[in-house]
């Protein structure tokens, strides 16, 4: 967890593209909404793995959202069930279920279907939200935090020093952080 937080902090402070972190965040939201243990989740994770998105952010988002995502389950369940019960889509789902390998996607499960659709719909807003947050952080907050007394104090505490070290090791780009 510490390592993930460190990587996120490093990414936020490094010369990385804001879209990378934002995409990591959006993909994390999508994967958090889909229950694990099915081919869809594994497939999406593998697919995202090859793209230039911040994997640390993605994993951290999954970890954080997974804890709270249960609250949205009734809504996701309802959405998934609504989609699965559309007569127009019955032929498609029947085909999916009868095609080899595809049943392992578990798209006939209301939570998987609802999570996938809602995650897909939320991807773009999440991406732009993440991007805005990264830019805001970089423009408004980063320099203030870097020069704050609190950070300097934290740098002296062993745990935070460890984080800082990890951040430096991970990023090793931004020079103005501990200057």
């Amino acid at each position: 967890m510490i390592s993930l937080i460190a990587k996120l902090i490093a990414a936020l402070n490094a010369n990385s593209r804001p879209g990378e972190v934002a995409a990591g965040f959006a993909c994390g939201v999508l994967l958090a909404l889909i229950p694990v243990g099915n081919l869809l989740w594994i497939g999406l994770f593998t697919f995202f793995f090859f793209f230039k998105l911040h994997l640390g952010t993605m994993v951290l988002t999954i970890a954080v959202f997974k804890v709270w995502i249960g609250v949205t389950d009734p809504l996701i369940d309802w959405l998934g069930l609504w989609i699965l019960q559309r007569p127009a889509l019955e032929a498609l789902f029947t085909w999916v279920l009868n095609t080899p390998v595809l049943p392992f996607l578990r798209l006939n499960n209301s939570l998987v279907m609802g999570g996938f659709v809602s995650g897909f719909l939320l991807w773009t807003p999440s991406y732009f939200l993440g991007r805005i947050l990264v830019l805001l952080y970089r423009r408004r907050i980063r320099d203030r935090i870097a020069s704050s007394r609190l950070v300097r104090f934290f740098e002296k505490t062993p745990l935070l020093r460890k984080i800082t070290k990890a951040v430096r090791k991970a990023a090793a780009v931004y020079e103005g952080w501990s200057a």
Partner: protein, 703 residues
């Protein structure tokens, strides 16, 4: 000290456009942008160049910046994409260049090892995605006759539905093996050149045997230790044996004690008995003095007291005995309940015996394996430990996340179920089509679970190999269709249709009754059989005989003559048989043939002739017979008529006599009447006279 090199992207002059689009656009930290622009200067052409007087730190920072600029280029991670591409290229390369040749080589080696003769495989094709494995030609030489092939196979394919394997279903879409031939000649010898190698392999085989026996011994060792340990563990968990042992100990002590007590009591009672008898034997009449009386009384009292004490002692002893016996009774109950408890435990243990046994075996196996395998075992243990830790951690994490979520609703859609094992199509053929020496077997939808698959299993067999070797029939063919349906909804369990065409038939036995020595013909036959699940069913056979040749043993006999007469003009014969059966036994058989009409006609004619002849003979015999009879009848008639006449005469005589008698009788009657009247008259008169005399004598008034 090593000199800091200028990053590649800054080595050549950069145009303003390139700087803007390819460098500055990929820098997202303002401080870095500022730093880069501070490091650049413009040349005469307006291009940007690095300042020559850059410090080492600045160069270092520039290098890091150039790395981040490269990182921010494109959408895909280059190294990951590279690995993926490499994997894909290697897979594709292996797929196209190596896979088939490797398979071919491996298969040839394996076949050569098995058959100890040359094996040549051509046109090997393996597709893991399509689940296809096949070859176009395979020859395996005969070890004993190297210039001949043991077997030769043509195009052979096996298609496996690989995605279904993920659902633990073995579905073979197609198995086809064509042009199977045996004992075909070879152009070159099929003997393996290095037969010595095989001897060497045998040597290594014996080494392998030694290794196998070593492993077996090791297994026995582990097994023995495991069994002992497991029994020890289970014995420790049981209650009853310990309880029984403790109760047994106490029972033994109780028994010893009570033996002693019983002996003691018996002694006491014997003593009292002796004493009482002695007292009773004393003569009271001989007691004279007060003292003697008193002494005697004392003796009595003493004995009485002793008896009372002994009785009380006995009562107490009995109470103790009751306590001990109660303890033994309770002990038995506690033993019974302990035994029940142990039985319950053993029943439960039987369920977990497998896992316990596995655990104990692994524990027992550990030192043995460590001795035998050395460091290999230690590495193995480490790997297993790491794997367990990882899987445990992942399960824990998953449980932490998934436990808080709902399970969701699984919506069902029409789903095509597959049986656990299915061969959709199987085909094997021998020989070449059109050569008159071809056989083929096809089996479709072969599965043990037809209910799930929803189709019956069907089979087809056809061969046009010559049935008779000395004079092979060129157009002979045997083909058979078979359908087996074991589904609960099916009406017919089995249907079969077999065609036999161009089959020569020769019957030389059992035809003596028809005066036929042998029958020879060509036959085209169709046999149909329909079987229901209760073993009842129907069948049909159409037998077409042509080129019939009958060898009669006795044409002079009536049957032989008739049969030869009937069949002399017949060249083809069709026989139809229909039959039904129940519980496997034949119920009805209906046979019809095309010569039925001819047979009927011929038999009719024969019968008519015979009938006319018989009629004539009968008529003649009748007339002969009837003449004699008529004569006899005439004589008899005459005799009878004479007797009749006599009778008539007698009758008439009798009538006459009767008439005469009647007349006499009438006469007698009349005479009698007269006599009676006479006498009556006489009596009247006498009475009148008497009365008159009486009146006169009495003189009665009024008269």
């Amino acid at each position: 000290m090593r000199k800091q090199r200028i990053p590649k992207i800054f080595r050549t002059p950069i145009t303003a456009d390139t700087l803007e689009k390819k460098i500055l656009r990929r820098i997202f930290a303002d401080s870095e942008k500022k730093f880069l622009t501070s490091c650049l200067r413009k040349d005469k052409q307006g291009r940007f160049l690095l300042r020559p007087e850059l410090t080492k730190e600045e160069l270092k920072r520039l290098k890091k910046l150039s790395i981040s600029i490269k990182k921010n280029r494109g959408l895909l991670v280059s190294w990951k994409a590279g690995i993926l591409a490499a994997v894909l290229i290697i897979t594709a390369g292996f797929n196209y260049f190596l896979k088939n040749s490797l398979l071919e080589h491996a298969a040839e080696r394996a076949l050569q090892t098995v058959f100890r003769a040359a094996a040549d495989m051509e046109g090997t094709e393996l597709s893991l995605l399509k689940g296809r494995i096949g070859f176009s030609h395979l020859t395996i030489a005969d070890e004993d006759q190297p210039m001949f092939n043991l077997i030769e196979l043509g195009k052979t394919n096996l298609f496996l539905d690989t995605p279904r394997l993920l659902s633990r279903r073995i579905v073979l879409d197609e198995i086809a093996c064509r042009e199977i031939r045996f004992h075909t000649p070879r152009t070159e010898s099929g003997a393996l050149p290095h037969i010595a190698d095989s001897e060497k392999q045998e040597g290594s085989g014996s080494e392998a045997d030694g290794a196998i026996s070593g492993v077996k011994n090791m297994g026995l060792e582990i097994g023995r230790e495991s069994a002992e340990r497991l029994l020890r563990d289970y014995r420790d968990s049981l209650q009853a044996p310990e309880l029984i042992e403790s109760i047994q100990d106490r029972s033994v002590s109780i028994q010893t004690r009570w033996n002693e007590r019983t002996d003691q009591t018996e002694t006491e009672i014997e003593d009292l008995d002796t004493r009482t008898r002695e007292l009773m034997e004393e003569d009271i009449s001989s007691i004279d003095t007060v003292q003697e009386i008193d002494a005697y009384l004392k003796k009595v009292d003493t004995l009485r007291t002793a008896i009372r004490d002994t009785r009380q002692s006995f009562n107490k002893t009995y109470d103790e005995y009751q306590d001990d016996s109660r303890y033994l009774r309770d002990s038995r109950e506690s033993v019974e309940s302990a035994v029940e408890e142990d039985l319950r435990f053993l029943k439960t243990a039987a369920g977990t015996f497998g896992s316990d046994a596995a655990g104990v075996i692994s524990a027992a196996a550990r030192p043995v394996l460590r001795d035998h395998l050395g460091s290999l075992y230690t590495y193995g243990e480490r790997i297993i430990r790491i794997y367990k830790r990882l899987s445990g951690a992942s399960e824990e994490k998953e449980g932490r996340f998934t436990g808080k979520r709902r399970a969701g609703t699984n919506v069902t859609f029409p789903y095509r179920e597959y049986p656990a094992f299915l061969i959709k199509s199987f085909e094997a053929s021998a020989g070449s089509q059109g050569t008159g020496n071809f056989s083929i077997v096809r089996i479709n939808d072969l599965t043990g679970d037809q209910e799930t698959w929803g189709k019956p299993s069907t089979a087809f067999f056809s061969t046009n190999q010559p049935f008779s070797q000395p004079n092979p029939e060129p157009n002979s063919e045997l083909s058979s269709d078979l359908m087996i349906d074991t589904r609960s909804t099916s009406r017919d369990m089995m249907n079969s249709k077999t065609r036999l065409s161009g089959l020569p038939v020769e019957i030389s036995e059992g035809l003596d009754i028809l005066s036929v020595r042998s029958l020879r013909a060509d036959s085209d036959n169709i046999f149909e059989l329909n079987l229901q699940p209760d073993l009842s069913g129907t069948g049909k056979a159409d037998i077409n005989l042509s080129n019939i040749l009958i060898d009669y043993s006795d044409t002079e006999s009536v049957i032989g003559g008739a049969l030869s007469g009937i069949l002399s003009d017949v060249e083809t014969l069709k026989i139809n048989a229909a039959f039904t059966f129940e519980n496997g036994t034949l119920q009805d058989l209906d046979l019809t043939s095309t010569i039925d009409g001819l047979l009927n006609e011929r038999i009719g004619e024969y019968t008519r002739e015979q009938a006319e002849k018989s009629a004539r003979e009968i008529e003649t015999a009748f007339y002969d017979y009837i003449g004699e009879e008529l004569e006899t009848n005439d004589a008899l008639s005459e005799e009878i008529s004479l007797q009749g006449k006599e009778l008539l005469e007698n009758i008439r005589a009798a009538e006459n006599l009767e008439k005469a008698l009647d007349e006499r009788r009438e006469a007698l009657r009349e005479k009698a009447e007269k006599e009676v009247e006479q006498q009556t008259q006489d009596l009247k008169e006498k009475a009148k006279e008497g009365l008159e005399n009486i009146g006169k004598d009495l003189k009665l008034p009024g008269f």
